[in-house]
């Protein structure tokens, strides 16, 4: 048994003349929380989009290795297969819940693949056969667990769109967790949260890593959160990696301070 690994090598993504990602390489370990930081427009979300199959990279490769040794070349897979087989799940910078469906239903949709198989592509489901009933119960249990974990049990039957912003962010994480990820990519999960919610989020993430052995890749602007929880930080600027190391190394890095961290008191540069 080895740790799962996500290997990004020489990844490039061009939109016409714009190189949103430029020859980016980094590795995310399964026992780490890896943070991707960088100024607005640096290409962070684009990296996620390439990892999860929403964009086909114009160059380079992304490889995921599971702990059983199975390997997946993500750049060759369709988006839904990445979630299904390579088990790389994500959340979105602008929350994308199924707004008209209840919180519980959101979590059930995330377990679609298993439930579909258990319902024999609906036949067993229609007939109400045992295996399907059992799978449904398991799915409900898992949904219940994650609802409880993120503190949403009381609102389980409310439409997702009617939840508060902070709860929506948490529900999105719970939904991704229900899909049984090996790698969980979170795009600015703390954006728009109040300090208390920030704290809760940090706890949830640390617990995911500790108790569920989930490898987390995190995009975040909130340096408090990033420095506190991440084991490894990748700094992007203009699509290229300008630094890669532990939080302490990054904090001390001149280039990073110039391009990002010390942004407030220095002029923007190229």
């Amino acid at each position: 048994m080895t740790q799962p690994v996500l290997d990004v090598s020489n990844l490039s993504m061009r939109f016409g003349g714009l190189a949103a990602i430029d020859n980016l390489s980094f590795t995310a370990r399964g026992d780490h929380i890896t943070a991707i930081i960088g100024p607005n427009g640096a290409g962070k979300t684009t990296v996620f989009n390439c990892l999860t199959g929403f964009y086909r990279p114009t160059g380079g490769s992304v490889r995921v290795t599971h702990d059983n040794g199975k390997q997946f070349q993500l750049e060759r897979m369709a988006g839904f297969e990445i979630a299904r087989k390579a088990r790389v799940l994500r959340t979105f910078q602008n929350i994308r819940l199924f707004a008209g469906m209840t919180a519980l239903e959101n979590l059930l949709v995330a377990q679609h693949t298993e439930l579909m198989r258990a319902s024999w592509y609906s036949v067993a489901g229609l007939l109400g056969l045992k295996p399907y009933e059992k799978a449904t119960r398991t799915a409900m249990e898992r949904a219940r667990y994650w609802l409880d974990r993120v503190g949403l049990t009381a609102q389980a039957n409310n439409p997702a769109g009617s939840l508060s912003y902070g709860l929506q962010r948490k529900l999105e994480i719970a939904r991704a967790m229900c899909a049984n990820p090996v790698f969980l990519c979170l795009d600015e999960p703390a954006a728009g949260l109040n300090p208390r919610e920030d704290q809760e989020l940090v706890e949830i993430l640390l617990e995911l890593k500790r108790e569920h052995n989930i490898a987390i890749i995190l995009i975040e602007h909130d340096m408090g959160v990033v420095m506190h929880i991440s084991d490894h930080i990748v700094v992007l600027d203009h699509g290229a990696c300008i630094a890669d190391g532990t939080p302490a190394e990054i904090r001390a890095n001149e280039k990073v301070i110039k391009a990002y961290l010390g942004q407030d008191d220095s002029e923007e540069d190229g």
Binding site: L97, G100, T102, S122
Partner: protein, 422 residues
């Protein structure tokens, strides 16, 4: 204050009157008269006058009694997005559903109900079935299909051709027609289902027209514009509805009456419609049904969770088509005669209107809308042209009145018992 209000109302009504005059002048004020010498112009300027006065007075009355009414649509729209979040369908809707089923069963025996009513309700039930099928595609999966009638046509023609050429019975043809229609749906759907919203709409509209054009022109198979005649009627477990020995009436020791077939057809479509409804209700809470709704809500999120949008869309499209196919074969056997005329765009429009008016996903809404849009106009058959005018006008008015549809509450497909019921 009140004076100011009534003055404004007067001004507004006058403006409406002037617009009505401008609208009426060219098309009501003049009449194109055909004669042997060609076209000439007739004058009926008095009609313009009536139009102006009518609109002026109507608008005035509306303004005065219903200042609130005019303001209403706008204020409700701000809540359009939130309307979906209102508490889910309640017990009362459940009871209403069973009550409607009970009424449907005893309908033919009610005192004021005659053959014509039963015949009319048969038609309504066909549209309930079609609406329920299209609801899978439009209401649940969120795919705008403007060519649904194509599958209805495929079902009807499949049934007719199978029954005429191979002498198969209704009960064999019915599933075959559904399968053909579904296969057709998959065939059409495969290339186009990745198109977004309105592009999909126009392509499906195009397919609907293509099917009609082919039905008209493929003389040797479809009989062209004249259609197919002599389609076998359904039998009651092999007993035909005819006079004389061996017919249904004879075997059951009844006096023969043509009404027997009408009643039989009514119960047949009632059963088919109920099966359709039960099926859709059940499927909705299966993984596939939830996936349809999730796809409607957010396709990108679906992909990120490992759902394959193509197969999910195809399944919705095929299932919707299959129900249209069933309805089509029932239509063919009921009429005994089909022609391309029965499958024009207006049919697709009516079915879509039933779904949207019903509230996009509400089963009871669909039934109410079908009664409203199909049942009621049948009463005004004699008024012919005015009927269609009123029909179109009613479509607009109902939409203005209830943009969310008659019943727009959504029932969740699963509930967590320990959560507070909302």
């Amino acid at each position: 204050m009140a004076r100011g209000l009534s003055l404004a109302a007067l001004r507004d009504a006058a403006a409406a009157g002037i617009v009505a005059g401008l609208l009426a002048l060219p098309l009501l004020g003049f009449r194109l008269l055909d004669s042997a010498q060609g076209l000439s112009l007739g004058y009926r300027l008095s009609w313009v006058f009536y139009a102006v006065i009518g609109v002026f007075l109507g608008r005035l009355v509306l303004n005065l009694i219903g200042a609130k009414w005019a303001a209403r649509p706008r204020s409700t729209h701000h809540n359009a997005a939130m309307a979906r979040f209102t508490p889910s369908a309640s017990q009362s809707e459940y009871i209403a559903g069973w009550a409607m089923i009970a009424i449907a069963f005893v309908l033919p025996f009610l005192p004021f109900v005659d053959r014509n009513v039963v015949d009319r309700m048969t038609l309504v039930l066909i549209y309930v079935m079609l609406g329920t099928g299209l609801n899978i595609v439009v209401g649940l999966a969120g795919l705008l299909d403007l060519g649904y009638v194509a599958f209805y046509a495929v079902g009807a023609y499949s049934y007719a051709l199978l029954a005429l050429n191979f002498d198969l019975s209704f009960w064999i043809c019915l599933p075959l027609a559904g399968i053909f229609a579904a296969a057709f749906g998959v065939l059409l759907g495969f290339p186009v289902l990745r198109l977004r919203g309105d592009y999909l709409a126009i392509v499906t509209l195009g397919f609907g027209e293509i099917v009609r054009v082919i039905l008209i022109n493929w003389q040797s198979l479809t009989g062209g514009p004249n259609g197919l005649v002599g389609i076998p009627r359904p039998s009651f477990f092999g007993l035909e509805f005819r006079a004389g020995a061996g017919g249904f009436a004879d075997v059951f020791g009844l006096a023969f009456s043509p009404a027997q077939r009408i009643y039989f057809l009514y119960y047949l479509i009632l059963a088919l419609a109920l099966i359709t409804i039960a099926f859709v209700q059940r499927v909705r809470s299966l993984p596939i049904g939830r996936a349809w709704e999730a796809l409607r809500e957010d396709e990108i999120a679906c992909r990120s969770l490992g759902l394959n949008p193509t197969t999910i869309k195809l399944s919705a499209f095929a299932l919707g088509a299959a129900f249209a196919g069933f309805a089509g074969s029932f239509f063919a056997t009921r009429q005994g005669f089909i022609s391309p005329e029965s499958f024009s765009f207006i049919e697709s429009a009516i079915i879509l209107a039933i779904v949207v008016l019903g509230g996009m996903g509400s089963q009871i809404g669909i039934v109410l809308a079908a009664v409203l849009l199909v049942g009621l106009p049948e009463w005004f058959r004699d008024l012919q042209q005015y009927r269609m005018l009123a029909f179109g006008g009613a479509m607009v008015l109902i939409m203005l009145w209830r943009p969310q549809g008659l019943l727009s509450r959504r029932t969740p497909t699963a509930k967590l018992a320990e959560a507070g019921s909302s």
